[in-house]
C-alpha cells in the first residue's frame, strides 16, 4: 500500500532530521570552535547525497504518473458527472441535468474485473474530487471533476466488490455527503 510506504519513509527521514537537531542542541553543552572547512566539506557531501536521492526519486516515480498513455487503450469507458451533491456514473454519456438525475437513481454501473477502465470525469457546477475507494476503504485513484473540462482517469481493477466514490474537493455544505458507487465483477 503506497500510502503506508510513504508514511514510513516520512517517519524515517523526519525522525533522522529530529535526531540531528537534538544532537546539535546537546552539542552546545560543550562549546568549542568548529572547523569551518570540515563543515563546508560536510555540506558539499550533503548536497551531493541529496541530489542523488532526489534524482533517484525522480527516476523511480516520473514514469509512474497516472496520466493516460496513448498506447494503453481502455477496455471500457465510463462517464462521470459531479454536481452538488452526488456523482452521476453511467455507461452512456451524460449530457444534461435530466440524464444526470437519472444516473444518480440508477443501479450501480458494473465493471469487468481485470479490465482497464477509463472514467471521463467532468462537473456540471463547481470543482469536485472524484475519489475512488476500494471495498476495504483505501483511496486507490482520483481525479478532479472540473466544469468545462473532461479528465480521463484510467484504472485497472484487480479486486471485485463495491467501490465507493467520495468527493475530495470542498464543494459546499454537502461535501461530506457526496457519493457515487459502482461494482467490479
Amino acid at each position: 500500500m503506497i500510502q503506508m510506504h510513504a508514511f514510513y519513509v516520512f517517519l524515517a527521514v523526519a525522525g533522522f532530521l529530529v535526531l540531528i537537531f537534538i544532537y546539535v542542541a546537546l552539542s552546545t553543552r560543550r562549546a568549542r570552535e568548529i572547523n569551518y572547512h570540515a563543515a563546508y566539506s560536510l555540506r558539499k557531501k550533503f548536497f551531493f547525497v541529496l541530489l542523488v536521492v532526489l534524482l533517484f526519486g525522480l527516476g523511480m516515480t516520473l514514469g509512474k504518473t497516472p496520466y493516460p498513455k496513448a498506447n494503453d487503450l481502455p477496455d471500457k469507458v465510463v462517464f462521470v458527472v459531479g454536481k452538488q451533491f452526488a456523482f452521476g456514473i453511467s455507461d452512456a454519456p451524460i449530457t444534461n441535468d435530466q440524464e444526470y438525475e437519472a444516473t444518480t437513481y440508477a443501479a450501480p454501473v458494473q465493471l469487468p474485473l481485470g479490465s482497464l477502465v477509463e472514467f471521463r470525469v467532468t462537473s456540471f457546477d463547481v470543482n469536485h474530487g472524484f475519489g475512488v475507494y476500494s471495498p476495504d476503504g483505501r483511496l486507490i485513484a482520483q481525479t478532479q471533476a472540473m466544469p468545462g473540462y473532461v479528465n480521463r482517469l484510467r484504472v485497472r481493477f484487480t479486486e471485485p466488490g463495491k467501490y465507493n466514490v467520495l468527493c475530495l474537493e470542498l464543494c459546499g455544505m454537502g461535501h461530506h455527503r457526496m457519493r457515487g458507487v459502482f461494482e467490479v465483477k
Binding site: 510513504a6 516520512f10 542542541a25 568548529i34 548536497f47 509512474k64 475507494y133 483511496l139 466544469p147 461535501h175
Partner: protein, 495 residues
C-alpha cells in the same frame, strides 16, 4: 534555560531618530500583541473543527463547520503573513527605512479586512475554504447570501491592496540602499563580496519580489470573479492556476520571511556570524525561480493540465528542497553546533521553528511526487504537512521573535521553568496533533469533512485523539501568552 540579554538591532543613527525608533518599536509591539490575541482565537476555531469531526456536536449544522474552516484557514494564513512582515520590517530597520505610515495603514486595513471576514463567515456562513476555488463562491446552495460573497471579496480586496502596498514599501526601502542585483546577491555569484548584503535583505528581497507576483495573480482572480458575475465566461483551469499560484506563494513567502528572521536573530544567541556568501546567494536566487513553478503540484489531479507541466512541477518541488536543506537548515545546524548558545525561550523557538520547517518540508516533498499525490491529494496528509511547517515552523519563529522583542524592551527576564514547560507543551501538543493528521492521511481520510461517513469512519477516532493533543497545545499557547504577553505589555511603557 538561561535568561540572557540579547542586543536589539543596532540602528544606524542616520537612519532613524530616537523618536522614530520609539514609534517603530511601539508599532512592532502592536503587531505582536495583535498576533498574540488572534492566535488563541483562531486556534480555538481549529479546536472546534476537530471536536466537530469527533461528533461532539451532533445537533450543529455542517454549514458551521465549513464557515469556521474558512475563517480559521484565512485567518491563520493572514495572521502569520502580517506577523512575518511586521517582524521583517522591524529587523530590516537596522539597514533600511520601511515606512511607519504604511505599517499603520496596513494595521487598520488588516483589521477592517478581518472584521469583514468574520462577518461573512460567522455572520453569513460563507464556507468555501481559504482558496475559494472558482466558481464555488457563486454556488452557495442557499447557505450563504450574495451579501456574504460580496463582503468576502471586499475583504480580500482590502487585504490584497494593503498587503501589496506593504510589500512594495519594503522593496522600496531595500531599493533605497541596495540595487536590485545587490539585494539579490548577484555579485556574490561572480565572486565579489562587496557590498555586503545581510541575509535578511537577500531573503526579504527574494520573498517580496515573488510576493508581488502572487498578489498580481490574486488581483486577476478577484477581477475574473467580478467578470463572471457580469456574465463573462471564465476558464476554471486558468482560475485554478492563478488561485494556487497566489496561495502557494503567500504561504511560502511567509515561511521564507520567518527564515530570514532566524538568519538575523539566531547568530545573536549563538555568538557566531551567519552571513551571505556565494552559496547562500545561489540558494535563495534558485528558490526565487523554483517557487514560481512549484505550485503546479497543487494541480496534479487536474489531468487536463499538460503532462509536461505536471512533471516540471514535481522537478521544481523536489529541487526547492535543495536550497532549503543544504543551505538554510544545514546553516542553522552549523551555526548552533558546539556554540556558546544562549538557550532562551526565543532562541529555542527559533531553532525548533527551523526543525519544523524541515519536517514539514520532507512530508511536502513526498506529497509532491505525482505517483504519491495520486493517493494523498486532499486527504489529511495535506493539512498534516502544511500545519507542520506553519504551526511548528513559522509560528514558532514568529512567537520567538515576539518574545525576543518583548524581553528586550521590557527588561523583564523569563522564568526558565515556565519557558521549559511552554516549549514542552507546544512540542508535545503540536506534534501529537499533527501525528493524527499524518496517520489519517495515510489511511485515506479526506480533508475538510465536517462528518466522517462510514467508509472513512476511522477519521472520527483520529479526530478525538487529536482533540486531546490540541488541548495540550492550547495549554502551551496560553502559558506562552501569559508569560510573553506580560513582557510585551510592560514593553509598551518602555517606548
Amino acid at each position: 534555560m538561561q535568561a540572557n540579554s540579547i542586543a536589539l538591532p543596532m540602528t544606524e543613527p542616520r537612519l532613524w531618530t530616537e523618536a522614530e525608533m520609539a514609534k517603530l518599536r511601539r508599532w512592532t509591539l502592536i503587531w505582536g500583541v495583535t498576533v498574540l490575541i488572534l492566535l488563541p482565537i483562531l486556534a480555538s476555531l481549529g479546536y472546534f473543527m476537530r471536536m466537530f469531526q469527533s461528533s461532539f456536536f451532533p445537533t450543529v449544522r455542517a454549514e458551521w463547520f465549513y464557515a469556521v474552516l474558512t475563517l480559521h484557514s484565512l485567518g491563520m494564513v493572514g495572521t502569520w503573513y502580517v506577523g512575518s512582515m511586521a517582524g521583517v520590517s522591524y529587523l530590516l530597520s537596522k539597514y533600511t527605512r520601511p515606512s511607519l505610515a504604511v505599517s499603520k495603514i496596513n494595521y487598520w486595513g488588516t483589521l477592517l479586512g478581518v472584521v469583514l471576514l468574520v462577518a461573512c463567515t460567522l455572520g453569513g456562513l460563507f464556507g468555501t475554504g481559504w482558496y475559494f476555488l472558482y466558481p464555488l463562491p457563486l454556488y452557495s446552495q442557499g447557505v450563504w447570501a450574495p451579501w456574504a460573497t460580496l463582503t468576502f471579496f471586499i475583504a480580500l480586496a482590502i487585504l490584497g491592496v494593503c498587503w501589496t502596498i506593504w510589500t512594495l514599501d519594503l522593496l522600496r526601502a531595500i531599493a533605497k540602499r541596495y540595487s536590485l542585483s545587490a539585494a539579490l546577491g548577484l555579485h556574490y555569484l561572480v565572486g565579489k563580496s562587496e557590498p555586503e548584503v545581510p541575509p535578511i535583505v537577500l531573503i526579504s528581497t527574494v520573498s517580496l519580489v515573488v510576493g508581488v507576483a502572487g498578489f498580481v495573480a490574486a488581483v486577476i482572480v478577484i477581477a475574473l470573479f467580478g467578470a463572471r458575475a457580469l456574465g463573462v465566461n471564465v476558464d476554471p483551469l486558468l482560475m485554478k492556476n492563478l488561485t494556487f499560484f497566489f496561495g502557494h506563494i503567500l504561504v511560502n513567502i511567509t515561511m521564507y520571511l520567518g527564515v530570514g528572521m532566524v538568519y538575523e536573530l539566531l547568530p545573536t544567541y549563538a555568538g557566531r556570524p551567519w552571513k551571505t556568501n556565494r552559496v547562500v546567494a545561489i540558494a535563495w536566487d534558485c528558490a526565487l525561480f523554483l517557487i514560481l513553478f512549484a505550485y503546479f503540484h497543487h494541480l496534479y489531479m487536474d489531468f487536463a493540465q499538460p503532462k509536461w507541466v505536471q512533471i516540471f512541477g514535481q522537478i521544481c518541488s523536489y529541487f526547492l528542497s535543495v536550497p532549503a536543506g543544504v543551505v538554510s537548515i544545514f546553516g542553522c545546524l552549523a551555526l548552533v553546533y558546539a556554540s556558546k548558545m544562549k538557550w532562551t525561550l526565543a532562541s529555542t523557538l527559533l531553532f525548533l521553528g527551523i526543525m519544523g520547517w524541515g519536517v514539514g518540508g520532507i512530508a511536502a516533498v513526498i506529497d509532491s511526487t505525482v505517483e504519491v499525490n495520486f493517493h494523498f491529494h486532499n486527504t489529511l496528509w495535506v493539512p498534516a504537512h502544511f500545519h507542520t511547517y506553519y504551526l511548528m515552523g513559522v509560528v514558532l519563529i514568529i512567537l520567538g521573535f515576539i518574545d525576543h522583542v518583548g524581553k528586550e524592551l521590557s527588561g523583564l527576564q523569563e522564568r526558565p521553568a515556565f519557558s521549559k514547560l511552554t516549549v514542552a507543551l507546544l512540542v508535545l501538543g503540536g506534534y501529537g496533533f499533527l501525528s493524527m493528521f499524518y496517520w489519517a492521511g495515510a489511511h485515506s481520510v479526506p480533508r475538510r469533512y465536517a462528518i466522517y461517513p462510514h467508509e472513512v469512519a476511522q477519521g472520527t477516532l483520529y479526530a478525538r485523539i487529536a482533540f486531546g493533543f490540541i488541548t495540550v497545545l492550547l495549554c502551551g499557547i496560553l502559558l506562552f501568552l501569559w508569560e510573553t504577553g506580560k513582557r510585551c505589555i510592560k514593553a509598551f511603557s518602555a517606548c
